[in-house]
């Protein structure tokens, strides 16, 4: 591992009432990166984040947060948005943001000034003195997000940050995460929506059943699967068919199969020589979803999709 790790965890184990929630979590989050933890609900993402932040203690294993194995000692440098959002309903938006900053050591007055700036920058200047209870759910979630970053942390931890947000606010959040990372802040978030991780993250951990099934670069996860070939021919049959792998499937006049290990050129030659009459040919790099299915299994992927549908509903 390089020395520049914002988070490092080895062998984290936690059980509740005798039932293991996570089993031997190993992750390494480089400083300044955007890191995603992917997995269906109940996979152990929240428990992992809580252990990393020191909210709960692991039964076994070690973790270090910004180089400190006592995470709460680094609280000033960390911003955390929990999965269950919460704010004091009677508090004004500016005060709520400032209070969350104060919990992380930011003087209240500074927090109030920064809160005003954040609200105005994001088109919410009219809501500075409005109580939280008067805001919509999405807006309250945005306020909490501002409270997470108001003290300018080195590390931002977001638990299911996209959950409950509409498409516009999801886009705004993605933009904010990229901005924070561009300024050198490390961002780690958990999600059960693969395309957020795919769009934002350099590195991911795929968790299923309380275990890390994959940890590394998103590109490495994808490269675990060979690219997929889609082919449409004029000839229905002929010598060219012997060039296709045995597990190639045909659907809507298109053949679909994994690119053979020999590469595209021998395949192309065999198709041409065999008189396939190529109408369409594409070689597609596999997406993170396919990688997830391959790594975590079909059932975990189905759970993730169900969770995402639940969010949308």
């Amino acid at each position: 591992m390089s020395a520049a790790l914002a988070i490092e965890a080895k062998g984290l184990f936690k059980s509740f009432d005798g039932k293991p929630a996570v089993r031997g979590i190993d992750i390494a989050v480089p400083e300044g990166s955007i890191y995603g933890i992917l997995g269906p609900n109940g996979a152990g993402k929240t428990t992992t984040l809580r252990m990393l932040l020191g909210i709960i203690e692991p039964d076994e294993g070690q973790r270090s947060l910004l180089g400190n194995d006592q995470p709460l000692e680094m609280a000033r440098e960390v911003g955390y948005l929990p999965e269950e959002r919460g704010l004091y309903p009677a508090m004004k938006t500016r005060d709520a943001i400032a209070f969350m900053g104060a919990l992380r050591g930011l003087p209240l007055e500074t927090g109030r000034k920064r809160a005003e700036i954040l609200l105005k920058q994001n088109g919410l200047g009219d809501y500075v003195d409005k109580p939280i209870k008067s805001l919509s759910k999405g807006m309250a979630q945005t306020i909490q997000l501002f409270g997470t970053i108001v003290h300018r942390p080195k590390l931002i931890v977001l638990d299911e940050p996209f959950s409950g947000l509409d498409a516009i606010n999801q886009g705004r959040l993605e933009h904010m995460i990229r901005d924070e990372a561009a300024s050198g802040t490390t961002v780690i978030f958990s999600t059960h929506v693969i395309h957020h991780a795919e769009r934002l993250c350099e590195r991911i951990a795929i968790i299923a059943g309380g275990e890390v099934r994959f940890e590394g670069l998103v590109s490495d996860a994808r490269e675990r699967l060979r690219p997929q070939v889609r082919l449409k021919t004029r000839a229905e049959d002929g010598k060219w068919r012997s060039a296709l792998p045995k597990d190639a499937v045909v659907e809507d006049d298109h053949w679909t199969f994994e690119l053979p290990k020999t590469g595209i050129e021998p395949l192309l030659k065999a198709l041409l020589d065999g008189g396939a009459g190529i109408e369409e040919l594409s070689v597609e790099r596999r997406g993170l979803h396919d990688a997830f299915v391959a790594i975590a299994g079909e059932s975990a992927a189905r759970e993730m999709e169900a969770d995402a549908l639940g969010d949308a509903a």
Binding site: Y80, G86, L103, R104
Partner: protein
């Protein structure tokens, strides 16, 4: 941030939120409730008080007079009750009996409400004159009955009643003891009453955080001990604001009252507590603080395990009963003898503040209070530590918020 800085952030938020809430108006009306409670309390403990406050009269006479009075008392007590007459205690007369009587009444280590001297024909009663004049009336009855009895024995006509020759003093050691006991009781009632009023609020204070789902943000930012301490400090601050306000109002009202009535009647002087007013008032405040922090930490610990108001209501009754038991234990310091139970009351952390407040009224030594306050502070930290650990262990589990009270019921099915 260190523990105290973190606790301050929590305390400041809670304090401001509470002071600007409707609850605070209700809280300011609390003296009315407290006053009602004090009346109820004084009625229920009246019998106990009377027993504890039975006056003792020193009989400084020749032995024949003393014997006659004692016999009459025994005869009358047999047909009434022991509490109907003051206790008579024979004391050898010195050369200068009036000076001896004054000295005995001034001696705080003795417990005399009055001194009887002279003879049955020329009785003298030295001591303060109270409104009911219980001691004076009973002594006169005893003298009259003794003289009548002596006349009957001598086959003489019943003698005319004699008046007691009264020597009025400002105070007596017995009255001082009674006043100090009442002072101790008042301090205990004040401490108990305000803590009782805030108990349910303290029980529910963490439920707000849980229902608003803020607890995880707090737990991720500051140590849970700081959350608990912050909440206790905020609530203590609120109650102290209330106390200051009520105190100012009470002092103003009493001053006005004294100015109004002092022209017509002579008001009795209030004996100072044994440690003196200058030490007593801060000590009562410190014991109130300790009591609030100790019981508050227990309530917060219990309340922290509840996940909704219904669970809070479930535990409210046992909590009030527990408080009453603690009060009864502490009351031994006021009314009981210095036995094992009284000492247990001084030492047991939850009753110690109220018991020690009573001790401050009746005993002049200051060092036990320093020891007691250090002992109570230690227990505040121990209870806060245990409560926050229990909270972390049983409540902050996975994404679903757990509850100690559920004991396995109502858990979400595994996905």
């Amino acid at each position: 941030m260190n523990l105290w800085e973190s606790a301050w952030v929590i305390a400041r938020r809670d304090f401001v939120a509470s002071v600007f809430s409707r609850f605070f108006i209700l809280f300011l009306l609390a003296p009315v409730i407290l006053f009602a409670f004090m009346i109820f309390f004084s009625l229920t403990t009246d019998a106990q008080d009377r027993e504890a406050s039975q006056p003792v009269v020193a009989v400084v006479t020749d032995s024949a007079t003393s014997e006659a009075l004692n016999q009459t008392r025994s005869r009358l007590v047999a047909s009434t009750s022991e509490q109907s007459f003051p206790i008579l205690r024979y004391v050898n007369p010195a050369e200068n009996v009036p000076a001896q009587a004054q000295a005995m009444l001034a001696d705080e280590s003795s417990n005399y409400s009055a001194v009887f001297s002279g003879t049955l024909d020329r009785p003298v009663l030295t001591g303060p004159m109270r409104a009911s004049d219980f001691v004076g009336k009973r002594l006169r009855l005893l003298v009259d009955e003794s003289r009548r009895s002596a006349a009957l024995d001598g086959a003489r006509a019943a003698p005319a009643a004699v008046e007691l020759d009264r020597v009025i003093t400002d105070r007596s050691s017995g009255n001082v003891a009674t006043q100090r006991r009442l002072l101790g009781q008042a301090a205990q009632t004040l401490i108990f009453g305000i803590t009782l009023m805030l108990a349910t609020l303290l029980l529910s204070t963490l439920v707000e955080e849980k229902s608003n789902k803020i607890i995880e943000i707090l737990a991720a930012s500051v140590p849970l001990e700081a959350v608990f301490l912050g909440k206790l400090i905020a609530m203590l601050g609120i109650s102290l604001v209330g106390l200051a306000l009520w105190g100012a109002m009470a002092v103003t009202a009493l001053t006005l009252f004294y100015q109004l009535v002092s022209n017509w009647v002579t008001l009795p002087s209030l004996s100072p507590p044994a440690v003196g007013w200058i030490a007593f008032v801060p000590l009562v405040l410190l014991y109130y603080t300790a009591n609030f922090m100790l019981l508050g930490a227990v309530f917060l610990g219990i309340g922290g395990q509840a996940s909704n108001i219904r669970e809070i209501q479930t535990v409210s009754m046992p909590v009030v009963l527990m408080q009453l038991m603690v009060l009864l234990l502490a009351m031994n310091a006021v009314n009981g003898q210095e036995g094992a139970l009284t000492w247990f009351g001084y030492i047991f952390p939850l009753s110690s503040p109220m018991a020690m407040a009573a001790l401050a009224a009746k005993s002049g030594a200051l060092w036990p209070h320093l020891l007691a306050l250090a002992w109570q502070t230690l227990w505040v930290f121990i209870i806060v530590r245990i409560a926050s650990r229990m909270f972390r262990r049983t409540v902050l589990k996975s994404s679903t918020t757990g509850s100690f009270f559920r004991l396995g019921f109502g858990k979400k099915p595994a996905a």
